[in-house]
C-alpha cells in the first residue's frame, strides 16, 4: 500500500532513534509513509514579526460556519463526484482540494483569522475508520467546519479550523 521510508523517520527525532532500538514492542512500529511537504524552511530565517496592540477585545467579524461548510461541500462534490479511487490521482487530488479550499476560505476575507485545512481521501474497502480531533483554543472566537463525502469507490473528509489571531 505505501512505501516505508525508515531512514526519514530516524533522521527526524534524535531521541526517537534510541527509543525504537531499545523499547520496541512486538507488534508496533513507527514508520514514515510517503511524505510530501511543500517545505518553506528558508522562510523561518526571517525574524518573527511583532505587531502593535490593536486594543480590540475580539474579532469584528467571526468565521461563518455555514458558509465554510458550503464551500467544503461544493469543492468535495465537484472534485470527487464521478471519480474512482486511484493511488496517484488521489495523492494529487488531496493536495489540490486542500489548496482550493484554502483559497476559497481566504476569499471570504475574514480578517485576523488563521486557517488550517485538513483533507482525507480514502478507498472504500469495507474497513472501519475513526477520525477525531480536539482543540485547545478560545471557544468564543475560534471555530471549525467539516464535511464528508462518499461515492461508490472512495470517501473524502475535509475539515477547516479557523483560529483568531490575538
Amino acid at each position: 500500500m505505501s512505501e516505508v521510508f525508515k531512514d526519514k523517520s530516524q533522521r527526524r527525532g534524535h531521541g526517537a532513534r534510541g527509543k525504537e532500538a531499545t523499547g520496541r514492542t512486538k507488534d508496533s512500529i513507527s514508520t514514515v509513509s510517503y511524505i510530501d511537504e511543500l517545505a518553506h524552511h528558508d522562510d523561518n530565517a526571517r525574524m518573527a514579526i511583532t505587531t502593535e496592540n490593536t486594543y480590540q477585545l475580539g474579532p469584528n467579524k467571526r468565521m461563518p460556519v455555514p458558509a465554510v461548510t458550503d464551500i467544503l461541500k461544493d469543492v468535495l462534490t465537484s472534485y470527487l463526484q464521478e471519480e474512482k479511487y486511484e493511488v496517484e490521482w488521489s495523492q494529487k487530488m488531496t493536495k489540490t482540494i486542500c489548496e482550493v479550499v484554502r483559497a476559497r476560505v481566504k476569499e471570504l476575507m475574514i480578517p485576523r483569522y488563521k486557517i488550517v485545512v485538513l483533507v482525507h481521501i480514502g478507498q472504500l474497502a469495507g474497513q472501519s475508520m475513526q477520525i477525531s480531533s480536539r482543540c485547545l483554543w478560545d471557544a468564543a472566537n475560534d471555530t471549525f467546519a467539516s464535511f464528508s463525502f462518499k461515492n461508490s469507490s472512495l470517501y473524502g473528509v475535509a475539515t477547516v479550523y479557523a483560529v483568531y489571531y490575538e
Binding site: 527526524r12 507488534d27 514579526i49 495523492q91 484554502r102 476560505v105 488550517v116 475508520m129 480536539r134
Partner: protein, 115 residues
Amino acid sequence: MEEYNPVDEVAFNADEVNISIKECVEGVIGGTDYNQNKVNQWTASIVEHSLTHLVKQGRPFKYIVNCAIMQKSGAGLHTANSCYWDTTTDGSCTARWENRTMYCVVSVFAVAVTL
C-alpha cells in the same frame, strides 16, 4: 507594559512534539488489535493525552490535534493539509504509527498567540 519572550522558546518544536505524540499513541493502543467498539475511546484518549502533554510545555500556542485510526484492509488512504498562517511562529507536525491491524495518523497544528 511589554513582555519579553525569548525567540527560541516561542518557535514550534516539531521534533519534540513528534516524539511525545508517538509515546501517547503507543500508550493508548500499543499492544492492541483494531476493535470497532473501542476505537471511539481510543481516538478520544489519544487526542486528549497529546493535548495535555502539549499544554504542559506551557508555550503560548493554541493547538489543534487530529487523530485518524484506520483498520488495515489493503485500502488506501491519503491525507493532506494546507495552512494559512505565519510561518515564522506557527507550525505543524504529523506522526504516523502502525501495528499489525491498524494505522494511526495524528496531526498537531500549533498557532501562536501573542501575549
